[in-house]
């Protein structure tokens, strides 16, 4: 089976996509979890449906329209929550639902071919086209470059935004930069991995890594390694048991997450 995984061209593409997704989500997810933006990233991922619907309705290319729509929706959420115009969870929840509903309504009124929305939920990592691999590689380079350049600012922002602002760091700009990067990451990965898998890769491995690493940089490396393990083990499970690949990867991630909680639960049980 391992020989098949490595020699079959579509499996080679799937492995490469999984490794690139693991890297993008390992780096971006650590920043997202450290800055408590998981819900915002989830909102952006669901709002992306609005972009898909708009692209089909206007007969425009799907990827650029979805990226533009999702980044705009995410920045809107970030601005409203940053200025405390409304309760953060409420704003994101409303935009999350509205973006999805908007996309589905537009697809309903679009005549002719309509995409299968299930494919956007779980993606199809097995059938990823080469063009998407190039897009993912480009995204990985951009994410690593931006993170290396602004690493200390991102660390300070995650730790204490008010202090970072007092020291003259452009906290507002960095908040919007992080939001926009999270939105682009989500859109590019939805095509490959599906919405549910993107949220899992952005949150499960980083939250496990943050608890164990000694620095944010090391947490990014550990989260990437964990994501790679989830993806490879999930793909092997999907191939061996004929399961949906995205769902199998999430099952491995979720099982690892809950197993990691057991020692803590055991210790609390002993303390009474």
């Amino acid at each position: 089976m391992i020989t098949d995984l490595v020699t079959l061209p579509f499996m080679q593409h799937a492995l490469l996509a999984a490794l690139l997704a693991a890297l993008c989500c390992g780096v971006m997810g650590t920043l997202v979890v450290a800055n408590r933006m998981v819900f915002l990233a989830g909102g952006a991922a669901h709002a992306a449906y609005g972009g898909v619907g708009l692209a089909y309705f206007l007969l425009l290319p799907v990827l650029p329209v979805t990226v533009a729509f999702t980044v705009a929706a995410a920045l809107c959420m970030a601005a409203l929550t940053r200025r405390h115009v409304e309760d953060t969870d409420t704003v994101i929840g409303v935009l999350w639902a509205a973006g999805m509903a908007f996309g589905i309504i537009l697809l309903d009124v679009t005549p002719g071919y309509k995409p299968d929305l299930m494919s956007y939920l779980f993606g199809s990592i097995i059938t990823v086209p080469v063009a998407d691999l190039y897009a993912l590689a480009g995204l990985a380079i951009v994410l690593c470059a931006v993170t290396l350049r602004h690493y200390n600012g991102f660390v300070a922002m995650a730790f204490d935004r008010e202090f970072a602002a007092v020291r003259g760091a452009p906290v507002g700009l960095m908040h919007y930069l992080l939001t926009a990067l999270a939105a682009v990451t989500v859109v590019l990965l939805i095509r490959v991995a599906g919405l549910i898998l993107v949220i899992a890769l952005l949150s499960v491995a980083p939250s496990l890594a943050l608890r164990r690493a000694s620095s944010l940089g090391r947490a990014m490396v550990l989260a990437t390694a964990l994501n790679m393990f989830f993806c490879l083990a999930g793909l092997a499970l999907a191939y061996g048991c004929d399961l949906t690949s995205g769902a199998a990867i999430i099952a491995v991630a979720a099982a690892t997450y809950f197993l990691s909680l057991l020692p803590g639960l055991h210790a609390r049980g002993h303390r009474g």
């Binding site: 408590r36 602004h150 660390v155 730790f159 202090f163 020291r167």
Partner: protein
Amino acid sequence: MTRPVVDIRDLTFSYNGQAVLSGIGLAVAPGERLAVLGPNGGGKTTLLKLILGILRPSSGTITVFGEEPGRNSRRIGYVPQRMEGAAARKDLPIRVLEVTLMGLLSPGRRGFRHSRADLARAEAALDQVEMLALKDRRFCDLSGGQQQRTLIARALVSDPELLILDEPTANIDPQGKFCLYEVLSRIGQGVTSLVVSHDMSILAAGVTAVACVNGRVIHAAEPRLTKEMVDLLYGVHSHSCPMDAFLRRMPPDLASLSPLEPR
């Protein structure tokens, strides 16, 4: 006459239509170590945020080193309330040395690594607050007093001319509190400092002046509370002040240590 480091004139700040501070004036002289006392909700943290430029006054003026607040952040060392914000989280893998280096953050500094000079400055600041041995520990694994000393090192690392501390003893046990007072008395000699607290024992931290804030401000150039200050803090006349009754029940030797003015 020497120009005050912080100069506040006829300042009013309102939030949601309610006046938090009204018509206040305060001048902090160079080298002064000022304790800013006040009850919760009295406006002392608001005053501090106005000085830092985090909030803007509704009317009146503030100058810090002769400039508008927020324009001279490099000359200010700031220690926020410990439990505020993400710093209180238990899952952030940020080491004590990294927290201290955040005090050197500025818009021009980018990149991943810190210079040797910056690392040496951070280690020296940690040494001042006796935290150097713990520099590689995760901040979230430290005790309350150790976290607070780390945040003081973060403020000291940039060699500030003005040090601002917001409730430095909040959530710290009595032993940790007096260790912190010892550190505060020792560090930053000659540096102008403002220590905001609702705890009167902060007067034991080597302060040279006191300002009481409760909607308005009374400032004295010595670390003792006057009758007017007690009236302002508790909103009652001093003859019925619970603090007075408490002091009368104290043994004479302990009462003599009180920061309250003898009556």
